[in-house]
Each structure stands twice: as structure tokens, then as C-alpha cells.
Symmetry: C2
């Protein structure tokens, strides 16, 4: 059955990713908590804390079956109250402000009316935007997309810009990446093709992010960079609690709270009315937190 094939892929991916991250971090290993869903199914939460590079990170697998409340059905624009959902969701918060926060997610849904689709994406939230690294990241995302469909990158890059956006701040969460949802079978593209794409997205993540970890882990920083990191993490918290659909879905479908909120950092800060000095690296980063930047060609 296709559903079981997808679930098995998600389990394997979780395990492979944790292994790759542990190997790169070198200082801590992932703990494992398994949990059961209130309705049917459950998950495996794997969390790393106090590593050499990673201060706090989670790689969550879940596969749950349930029924959405009428109110939530509408809010999520779901075609049917019955659902099956499986996926892996990842958030990594490094100690160093020189190593970007990252998030990635691959997921599969089946609604009771027979509709099925994939969603997912990868995005990067540097504390200090390094345009060259952002460009390399986007080029890699384009490469993965291009292998499957010529319009994927352009579409999914825009989707990430629009999605990872703190509307109340008029500011993107980071330098974006790709984001996609409701990738169903069409006349042209089979659901197996969709899975092949999602598979490639998933397995592009570790090679890319561990390279960034290695490139940036020994860069020096001080108190000022740390303070800026804590504030940027505050914006990350704002996005996750106010807008993130995965978080909303989890909170409203009685998911395991500690697994859903493992995306929040160990420490975050809010300073009233903080404005970076004009011309500073912090001000420069703020300039990059905009939609529609052509990261492929940024200098």
C-alpha cells in the first residue's frame, strides 16, 4: 500500500538524518521519545540538546489518523474531516549566531474523500545573512527542483517567501528556501513522482546543512552577536506561534505538545524598540529579510 510505503520512507529518513547530524555535531546524540496519539497512531520525537554545534534540535516523525473538528476543517481548508498524516519535521537551533537556524519538513496527507498529497520544504534563517551562502543554498534547492519539474523552484521559492513571513513585522523569517503543499497526482505527474521529489528534497538536507555547520562552526563571535541572535530567535518564536500551520495543526489536533514546541529555542529575547545601528551587520541582515530577493544571483 502506498500509504505504508510513505510511512516507511518517513521513518527511514528520520533515522538517517539523525545519524548524519550526530556525526557532524560530534558532541551529543539524539534522545528518543515515542508517543501515542489520542486518536490513532503516534510518533517518535528525537531531540538533541547541548551538542558541539547544535544547542537544541528536534527531528520529529509522526503518523496519525484522526478527525478534524468542523471549525478546524474550515481553517485548514481540508476536503474531509477524516485524515491520515505522516511526516518528518525538523528544527535546528545552533549555539553560535554564525550558524543559521534551519527548518525542514516533509509530509503526506490523505483525506477521507480519497484525496492525497505531499507537502514540505527547506528554509534557512541566518542570524547574520551571508549572501554567498544564501545563494549556494538557493542554487542547491533549484537543482533539486529542476530534476523533477522546470517550474518547481520558481513556484516553491515564492511560496516560501510568502509563507515564512512575519506579517506584523513586514519581515521574512530568514532567506526563505522552498515550500510546497497539496502536491497531488495530476494527469502529468503521478503520486509516485511526487514521492520521488519529496525524497530528493529530504535527502538534500543533511549534506547541505552539515556543510554549513562545518563552514561556520568555528567563526568567532561575541556578546553583541549573541544578543542579536536571541532577538532573531524571538522573531522565530513569533512566527511559529502566530502563523505556522504545522504548529496550529498540532495544537488543535492534540498532538504531543513537547514535540510540536521543540521548534522553540532554549533562549530567546525581546528588546523594546530595538533598532540596529545604520550600516551595521545587523542592519544589513535586516535589509535582506524581504520577499522576492533573487537569491540565485545575489552578489
Amino acid at each position: 500500500m502506498f500509504r505504508e510505503e510513505v510511512e516507511a520512507f518517513m521513518r527511514r529518513f528520520q533515522s538517517d538524518l539523525c545519524e548524519a547530524l550526530e556525526r557532524c555535531d560530534g558532541g551529543a546524540t539524539f534522545s528518543t521519545d515515542t508517543w501515542k496519539h489520542e486518536e490513532e497512531g503516534g510518533g517518535i520525537s528525537r531531540v538533541i540538546q547541548g551538542g558541539n554545534v547544535l544547542e537544541k534540535g528536534g527531528v520529529n516523525f509522526s503518523a496519525v489518523r484522526g478527525q478534524l473538528s468542523p471549525q478546524f476543517l474550515k481553517m485548514l481548508e481540508m476536503p474531509d474531516a477524516n485524515y491520515f498524516a505522516t511526516g518528518v519535521s525538523v528544527v535546528l537551533h545552533p549555539h553560535s549566531p554564525m550558524v543559521p537556524i534551519t527548518h525542514m519538513n516533509v509530509r503526506y496527507f490523505e483525506a477521507g474523500n480519497g484525496q492525497a498529497w505531499f507537502g514540505g520544504g527547506i528554509d534557512l534563517t541566518p542570524i547574520y545573512v551571508n549572501p554567498e551562502q544564501a545563494r549556494e543554498f538557493h542554487r542547491l534547492m533549484k537543482e533539486v527542483c529542476d530534476r523533477h519539474h522546470p517550474t518547481y523552484y520558481a513556484e516553491f521559492k515564492k511560496w516560501a517567501d510568502d509563507y515564512f513571513y512575519n506579517q506584523h513585522r513586514e519581515e521574512t523569517r530568514g532567506v526563505g528556501g522552498i515550500f510546497f503543499d497539496r502536491l497531488m497526482a495530476t494527469d502529468e505527474i503521478s503520486i509516485a513522482d511526487r514521492l520521488a521529489f519529496v525524497h530528493d528534497v529530504a535527502y538534500a538536507f543533511a549534506p547541505f546543512y552539515t556543510r554549513i555547520m562545518n563552514e561556520n562552526r568555528d567563526l568567532p563571535y561575541g556578546e553583541r552577536e549573541k544578543q542579536w541572535q536571541l532577538m532573531r530567535r524571538g522573531r522565530y518564536v513569533e512566527f511559529n506561534l502566530v502563523y505556522d500551520r504545522g504548529t496550529k495543526f498540532g495544537l488543535h489536533t492534540k498532538g504531543r505538545i513537547e514535540s510540536i514546541l521543540m521548534s522553540l529555542p532554549t533562549l530567546a529575547s525581546w528588546q523594546y524598540n530595538f533598532t540596529p545601528e545604520p550600516g551595521s551587520l545587523e542592519a544589513q541582515t535586516q535589509q535582506y529579510l524581504k520577499k522576492d530577493i533573487d537569491w540565485l544571483n545575489v552578489q
Copy 2:
């Protein structure tokens, strides 16, 4: 005009409260930022940072007139898109985990269809619940309520329990207090009576909270208490970003972001799956974070 009388009261209250808090804190004064609303009106944000007792605190006045979007009209269950709103909103985050976080708010709404009402309340979020202090707080709230109506306290205490509730954690934000909304004129109670009640709530706040500041400011604490405080502040952030109607109203009506989010603490923390040791003071506090505790008679 009644509306102007209410607005003048709100302005006076903001200024009186800041003065009382500055006098008690003794280490810092409130800054003043005035801002204009995108539609009509504006506000005065007064913020204290780095005081002797108060690490970060805001006392916001605003008076704005505008039009709600259809979607938001429904979400807030408002009778008309046109509105006038004025109020004072207060959040105080002390340095010391021995001094409770507090929030209070008094507000007045007029809808385009002529309906007008008051709302408000005071609530207390101790990092370590001191049952005696919580009892004194609730007794004072009852006293203020009883002066105006025999059912106010019971009603508004329950309202606070239900409102200041982190549903996803099944945990109250703190020890509650009173919360009320949509207090309109009735056959029995005039709108001027409502204002008199709101006035008494407002002016009960400073004497009570400055007493707690003074009682608790010199209590000793260490690293363990500080860590617990940062985690409890994390829950405070969760409530404000996920549930708080005032925050939602502000974010959706394009209020001034820095004024709305001054309610967030300088520093907050999330630890994966943290559970207090059985029998510890932290575990005891968690036991108190429940609805329907009879605080008036707690031992």
C-alpha cells in the same frame, strides 16, 4: 461626551500608574513614545527597562478609531465593522523570580451600531505561587468587585480562569484574578456605573502590586529559580502569541507592533520535556496552575 470622559480617564490613569510604579521601583523611569494609528487616533507607549525591580514593563494607552476586516469582525464577534477603542494595558516583568509577573487592562469599546462596553481585569502570574499572597490578591479583587455588584467577583474570577489558560498545556497562566468584557449598560446598571467599577479596578492595581514588589523584592534566589522563571516566561509568551485577544486585535488592526509586543519578556526559555522534581517548589507551583481553585480560602 461620554467617550471623551472615558478617554481622559484612561490618560490620567496611565500617568498615575507610571508615577506609582516609578516611585516604588526607584531605579528607572518610563520612557514615552507617542504613535499615530494607520486609520485614526494613536497612543502613548510608556516603557520601563532595567529598573531595580522591573526588568521590563509597559503601560500602554491608546485611543483608535477604525474599521475591522470582515474576517476579523467575525473572529472577534463584533456587532459592527466601525469601532472606537480606548484603553490602558499593562504588563510587568520583574527581574526576580520571587516577584510575580502581572498584567492588567482596562478598555472601552464603541461599535458603529451604537453598542458600547467596558472590559478589563487584573491577573497575577507568580513564578513560585505563594498561596497566602494569592489569597490576599483574590480577597482584594473580591472587595473591589463587591463594592459594585454581588455577583461580579464570582463571575469575573471564573472568566479569568477560563481566559488565562494555555489550552495546549492544560495549565492556567498563573493564579488568575478577574477578567471581564462586554459590560454594557443594562436596565439595572448604567454605563456610568460600569465606568465607576472600571475606575476602581484600575486604581486598585498600583497599591496592591507595589506592596507585592516591596514584600518580595529582597527575597533571595539562585540559578535554579532563574531557570524556572525563564521557562515560566516561555509559557507567558505562548499564551500571549497563541490566545491573547488583545494581541490578536493589535496584530490584525495594524496597531504599533512594539507597543503590542512589549508584553513579551526580555528573556524566555524553552527546555524540551522539562518536568520539575516531585515535591519541589516548582512541582508545587505547577499544582496550583489549575482552574477553579478557591483562592479566597486557600491555606
